[in-house]
Symmetry: C2
Amino acid sequence: MSVMELDIKISKTPNSRISEFNQENIQFGKQYSDHMLVAHYEDGAWGTPEIIPFANLSLSPATTFMHYGQAIFEGVKAYKDANGKARIFRPQDNWKRMNKSAHRMAMPDVPEELFVEGMRKLIEIDEAWVPTAAGSSLYIRPFMIATDEFVGVRPATKFTFLIITSPAAAYYSKPVSIFVHDEYVRAFPGGIGFTKAAGNYGASMYPDQQIKKMGYDQILWTDGFEHKYVQEIGTMNVFFVIDGKVITPDLNSGTILAGVTRDSVITILKERGIIVEERPISIDELEEAYKNGKLTEAFGTGTAASVAPIGKLTFHTDEMQLRPVEEWEIVNWVKTTLDDIRYGRVADTHGWILPV
Amino acid sequence: MSVMELDIKISKTPNSRISEFNQENIQFGKQYSDHMLVAHYEDGAWGTPEIIPFANLSLSPATTFMHYGQAIFEGVKAYKDANGKARIFRPQDNWKRMNKSAHRMAMPDVPEELFVEGMRKLIEIDEAWVPTAAGSSLYIRPFMIATDEFVGVRPATKFTFLIITSPAAAYYSKPVSIFVHDEYVRAFPGGIGFTKAAGNYGASMYPDQQIKKMGYDQILWTDGFEHKYVQEIGTMNVFFVIDGKVITPDLNSGTILAGVTRDSVITILKERGIIVEERPISIDELEEAYKNGKLTEAFGTGTAASVAPIGKLTFHTDEMQLRPVEEWEIVNWVKTTLDDIRYGRVADTHGWILPV
């Protein structure tokens, strides 16, 4: 990927907090890098973006998005190679998806140079915040909020786009246990399930609390019509290895997020000659495959989690306990292959890496 | 309703903006009263609420609700009687619904005294902002946002509850034209359609933009399964008068907001001996009734809109144009009866009024 032109104003902090950043004890989502990017949209156009010290926003309590949820986000990561040079993974794909979300949520497109080059510049300035420990990365959170000061229900006319970043250690340290939900519904056709709209996540908090009390890590959502087909995990897409083939739900219903990690995994699996099927997968099929010993691996994929093995999958009282992850073939190979690309241990043959 | 005890801190503004408030030119949602109520929830408990001058909030760009939409609101109105005394309409019912939303969105209950007495106290202080013109009112917006400074997806632990208010003139000046939508879906069973969660509204902005371009005011949503049954208007519940009976969609699917105005309208219609049916209503039934001349009135109800006559209802290319509103019986009677209660022209026999 090539570097783009971007007119940007930069005001660096005189009080860097980098000395407070402890690589041995990374607290994802709690510590933020020194700077953030901010750009305002008004009268049909984006103003000059600024990189400024990370600081609170001053917002009217009547700001539209607080009331009506016109808010979208993305998740991207930067990794350091052996030479300590930061590299961003597939930012252009997140930019494309951000604009798909923006369109569905009646928000303006974010220009490519603002999203991609703005992000690159921000990471360049805060490169010291990209951690170097194994499995670690800098989590990058671009987001857009509707900022009219108006409490009537109508699409906003003013918007703010921001990028903030937070150092992240490896996400899940052990295989996750998953509860397959057939009471609550995450998304439905004609809705916003395919977007990264804020509202999709808030709606999942209560069911999430319930299954955590039961000892599970995450929910695997089912379709809203019949609760028969599995969909996604809310923060991750889901893959199953059945009879040597890799199967993941297709995106046709508009209820599943088109994960960038999902796409990366499908790409590298196919390159290795493994059959990947994107199609509806029913709970029945999973239970049948499990009983016959053909369900050999299961995993989630996402920017935050990367590739997360699923140790246990429960539907009602039916527990599918997979064999120890150490014995799995595909998930470990996929995770290593993906990490090799991200951390620059192999050549980037896909054009996925934007060097900072 | 009786006045409750509430421990509250009050800091009045030394710079009232009341002289800028022009009763002749009320701009709903653009001008806010002098004060607002703020209360913080942390470590499992609400702190002492404060009434302070209306001002911007200082929020970290990593505040949970900006990313994950854990945000809910309510809409209430205060009216002035002939003596210029303000009265709040059914605040206790909005309080109950707020907590239904809070429960589904994994947010803490708002105590009754905080919501109701806090609101009463706020309106008492800003009573000069309650307009006196016919059809006018003070719109009251209680809302709650999740305020953890954390970008990981998980239910928040800190929350802020606020009440802001804005003077409002009559909402719709002429009958609204409605487009019956069968492509996009507002809500689905197992979702959050019955709550006033911010995310429900953001998801409707794009479809709303589309139908406005086509010359319509509002969308009448249909069920997500078959797009066969009508649901609600997003900012209003919907009622039809067919063959002298009043019919409104029932709330059983969990996809329709239990409107306080809806309940008020049903109550006063039943008291007058009019048959009200809460049940599924199909588009087919509406079209059939229209063809036979039996669909005589249609209207929406909501706190903002009060009772809004529907002049035209379009499904695909099928236009149902109702006769002039002046000839309607039920909607005009309902609106007048409701206004008489709100503005204190008749006795409050239902315990709906909280005097300020």
